[in-house]
Symmetry: C2
Subunit: 241 residues, 2 copies
DNA sequence: AAGACCATTCGGCGATGCCGAACGCTAGTA
DNA sequence: TACTAGCGTTCGGCATCGCCGAATGGTCTT
């Protein structure tokens, strides 16, 4: 782990917390001298990862981050293969559909239907069905176990059942009035994401046919990505068995 | 400019060029020893900026880039204020509408209507109307003057006219069959972006009323962002005058 | 079975970036 | 007007941190 690179990425993380920050604020948040942070920020500035407001001198994230994120999406086989499946699934079920990948203790939405503007949103893994799937397969780790609503269950339960059935549920644990169900998506040798439905609390639980459609989509995407079996095997579980 | 941070960002830039790359490929592209790049990549890996495929060992961009890009969009006042204007403009004119910001020699689309999935795309500044506006105000610099179609004009001409009229044009310079017109958007003290129309070659030139609507939108957004006059003054031009 | 490529580890030399202090600036205040 | 407080920024010296070359253990190809 290279110190200065790690610090640069931590600067970007700090900048995610607020629209704009002063150099001193960033330095204070990281416990470093302002002049140390200045060198890092100047380098980020040169690459467009951050921008500096001309009048106030404050810093914010820059457009290079957007370019980077867009290239990531374009290069993601998971997204490309999932796109037609989730469009169908949204049409069939009338629900919102999301595909997400793990990012530490969170999940990041990489595809959505019928509302593609949900791409990019980040949800704590322990508070949504998509995250529970990824927790069950060891792709996420609970880093910040704070409840988001009064319904949030801590720690996440029944992860064994998730692996057995290929389904995870969530009832108003992230957003009141919103429930979810999700299934794992895998490549030939690991779980790489999850596909899930967003269901209004009034329509919960969904019809069995809806959950079957979800699982069919998860299996279909996984097959296109090279997976041979579904639900996927959990490497660590089968190793200890 | 801190060396290792700069190298880390260049690694990300290299990774934008292809879906996946081996450590050796990245090292070769940068003229460094593989072991040097390895340390950098490991740090990026720890933050989710890159991921490593379990089977092949190859590297690609990671989901943290997507999160970063999404936060950038959420924190962008330009985008928030432009959104209703471009929705109206798209409905009135029947054209595609884009809002873009400068990024070195390119422009990055940060808002679009009626097709929001165009957000994130990157176009060389010298080959599109949006970029010509930003070149005219010194927010972009031509870094890689390669024509994209047979129509691409190099170097970009009539930038003074762009500043005088608040309008830039482009006829099939980026994509054959596609033309564009764009106007500057400014805050109180600098040009921060551009708004433009995408017009099919068959519908070019657009009606004067269409261009007026474009300019009204550009002026309206600029006013909301604190600009006092429109078209905006060009700092360097007025300083030398 | 041999070769080529991969990611990865290690250790020593040296360049590199860290930090404290000083600067110029703007803004708000007495 | 003078004065303080905060900002971003610059500079230089010391020591640290990271760079690189070589060596390892894999896997896949020939």
């Amino acid at each position: 782990m290279i110190q200065s690179v790690d610090r640069a990425l931590r600067v970007l993380a700090v900048l995610q917390g607020a629209r704009r920050r002063s150099l001193g604020e960033i330095a204070a948040a990281m416990g470093l001298a302002p002049s140390t942070v200045h060198g890092i920020v100047r380098t980020l500035l040169a690459h467009g990862m951050v921008v500096q407001e001309r009048d106030t001198g404050l810093y914010r994230l820059g457009p290079a981050t957007l370019k980077l994120g867009n290239v990531y999406l374009d290069n993601l086989e998971l997204r490309a293969h999932a796109q037609p499946w989730i469009a169908d699934l949204a049409a069939q079920t009338g629900c919102g559909v999301r595909v997400a990948v793990p990012l530490g203790g969170d999940v990041v939405v990489v595809a959505a239907a019928p509302t593609p503007d949900e791409v990019g949103i980040v949800v704590p893994a322990h508070a949504c069905a998509l995250g529970k799937v990824l927790l069950a397969y060891g792709m996420c780790t609970v880093t910040d176990p704070r409840p988001m609503t009064g319904e949030t269950q801590l720690p996440p339960r029944d992860l064994g059942t998730v692996r057995r059935t290929g389904l995870a549920n969530e009832v108003e644990e992230a957003v009141l009035g919103e429930c979810g169900a999700a299934s794992p998506v895998a490549t030939a040798d690991e779980v790489c994401g999850a596909v899930g439905l967003v269901v209004p609390a009034g329509a919960w639980p969904p019809a069995p046919a809806t959950l079957d459609a979800l699982r069919r989509a998860a299996r279909g995407i996984s097959r296109e990505l090279g997976a041979s079996s579904w639900p996927p095997r959990f490497a660590e579980e089968s190793a200890t068995a």
